[in-house]
């Protein structure tokens, strides 16, 4: 990217932040409740907490989210491509997906705890399960709707199945996969609030819920700011990935 573009992006971000803060300020003034501190209070508390308290929480949450995203990508993308490509397998699996997907995974928490213990494993598996479906369904739908012309042309070069995945299905679905990762990221972060309420005292989800239940709204909003920043950085990362991997889309 050129420095000019970067500069512009930075300015846009600044403006966006300003708008958010003004809106927040007005709302907090309007409501006048401890449940919504002013931006100043929150930023003060953010600055105070950031180095010694918030960073470790963010790091552990980041780890949980990143590992889950990685696992569900590794599992969901190939399976999604496979189902999108093979109508038969898709027709067969669709009812399975459709029946299990809408059931919120929270209810399986006790089962997971029994099977996987109360450590990081069950937390990561639970987050993974939630985003897995998202990535699976998005990838599958994208692969399903792939223009047939590309498949035909590469098949006429005598590509085998694996080649087709590599040279056609995967690159063609990559933009959709990146979209699903963006969405999955947000979803993973909201699942943090579920998985970080048991057997842990670490993680930004725990931090926020804990501040919340102890009515420390300034701390809670410091946590929310940290969460927003963490999400924003991860998004920038995904955007950069898209710029590099899908350069052909934006010609």
């Amino acid at each position: 990217m050129q420095p000019k573009e970067l500069m512009q992006k930075f300015i846009y971000t600044l403006v966006a932040v300003d708008i958010l803060i003004v809106f927040w300020y007005l709302l907090s003034r309007l409501l006048n409740t401890p449940a919504l501190p002013t931006p100043l209070t929150a930023f003060n508390s953010f600055v105070q907490l950031v180095t010694n308290e918030l960073v470790p929480h963010v790091v552990i949450s980041f780890y949980r989210v990143a590992v889950s995203l990685a696992i569900s990508t590794v599992l969901g993308v190939p399976l999604g491509l496979f189902l999108g490509k093979n109508t038969r397998a898709d027709e067969f699996s669709a009812p399975l997906i459709y029946m299990t997907y809408p059931i919120p995974k929270v209810v399986f928490l006790p089962i997971f705890l029994i099977l996987l213990g109360i450590g990081n494993l069950s937390k990561i598996v639970l987050i993974t399960l939630v985003i897995f479906y998202l990535i699976l369904v998005t990838t599958r739908d994208a692969a399903r709707n792939l223009p047939r012309e590309y498949v035909l042309s590469v098949r006429s070069l005598r590509a085998n199945e694996l080649d087709l995945y590599r040279h056609v299905y995967f690159p063609a679905c990559l933009p959709a996969i990146l979209t699903s990762l963006r969405l999955g990221l947000g979803m993973a972060m909201s699942v943090l609030f579920l998985v970080e309420t048991y057997a842990t005292q670490e993680g930004i989800g725990y931090f926020i819920m804990n501040s919340w239940s102890s009515l420390a709204y300034d701390k809670m909003f410091a946590g929310i700011i940290a969460m927003g920043l963490m999400g924003f950085l991860l998004y920038l990362l995904l955007d950069a990935c898209e710029k590099v991997l899908c350069s052909w889309v934006h010609l």
């Binding site: 401890p34 928490l109 705890l113 029994i114 109360i118 057997a199 804990n210 239940s213």
Partner: protein, 298 residues
């Protein structure tokens, strides 16, 4: 949101009371069922909530006139600037009321409180559960830091973890104690003896106290009548208790309706104990004292 209805003129005056589905609700339910509120010409809307955080938020949003909650939350809300007063004890005028217990996993060899040293205990933090845990430990001559407190916010999850021996012990209130025991777990200690630890209270917003003072008095008249009725015929109201507050059906048959206290204010000592505990944990925004939070005191 507040004071839209002028309690005096709009009759019958309406009180919105929020609560979790716990045993504390029984007197209100009985008063409603038996028409005691109607007789007192006060209308009570009971708002059910399934988790403490949402109860707090609903109260803070101004949608409620009052709620049944534990003392910690009442005091924390007060110190965070919420205008409210504790108007009565709901359960816990005596140690026997409102039982909390440390329950050990079926396969663990924990027999006494001392055996808990270094063991993991599932609790929810910054709550009455943690307060009671600390209290029980201290009464047994231990320090809260001797055990490994593990946060597990959801009670069902806590119980399931215990029954599957994923954790050594947990702290829960009744009826979950009975359930866990019925499934092989063991009560290590509870708060029915010794110092009075667990107290749940009914709090009202200052706004409601100002504008609906009269209705609140009549609410308590009906409430008192219901408490007497329950304490006289506990068996008669078991069915209501079991269905409306979800006593696990495995233990419903053997479950006993407990003794409820008449409306009364908590004593200063109990309140101060909680304040001290909260202060030590850094959970109080501003200093508060007994007079600030109790109804009718100035």
């Amino acid at each position: 949101q507040d004071g839209k209805e002028n309690g005096q003129e709009n009759s019958p005056a309406k009180l919105k009371i929020g609560s979790l589905t716990t045993e504390e609700n029984l007197p209100v339910l009985v008063a409603q069922e038996n028409g005691y509120f109607d007789a007192e010409d006060v209308q009570v809307e009971f708002v059910p909530l399934l988790s403490p955080v949402e109860l707090q938020n609903t109260f803070q949003s101004g949608a409620l006139d009052g709620m049944i909650t534990d003392m910690m939350i009442a005091l924390m809300l007060k110190s965070s600037g919420e205008e409210l007063r504790i108007t009565s004890i709901a359960l816990g005028s005596a140690p026997q009321e409102g039982r909390f217990a440390i329950v050990a996993a079926p396969k663990s060899d924990i027999k006494s409180v001392q055996d808990l040293k270094g063991k993991s205990i599932g609790i929810s933090n910054n709550s009455i559960i943690e307060y009671v845990t600390d209290g029980i430990l201290e009464q047994a001559g231990m320090s809260p830091s001797d055990v490994n407190k593990t946060t597990v916010a959801k009670i069902p999850v806590r119980i399931e973890m215990l029954l599957n021996n994923q954790i050594d012990a947990i702290v829960v209130p009744d009826p979950h104690i009975s359930y866990a025991v019925a499934n092989g777990a063991r009560v290590v200690a509870d708060d029915t003896s010794g110092e009075n630890l667990s107290q749940s209270v009914i709090i009202m917003t200052q706004t409601a106290l100002n504008s609906k003072n009269d209705a609140i008095s009549r609410f308590y008249n009906a409430y008192a009548r219901a408490v007497e009725e329950i304490n006289n015929n506990p068996e008669q109201y078991k069915e209501l208790l079991v269905t409306s507050i979800n006593v696990p059906k495995q233990i419903a048959d053997s479950y006993k309706v407990q003794h409820y206290p008449l409306p009364q204010l908590p004593v200063e000592e109990d309140v101060n104990n909680v304040i001290t505990w909260l202060k030590n944990k850094g959970l109080l925004k501003a200093d508060i004292n007994y007079q600030d939070v109790i109804w009718g005191q100035t």
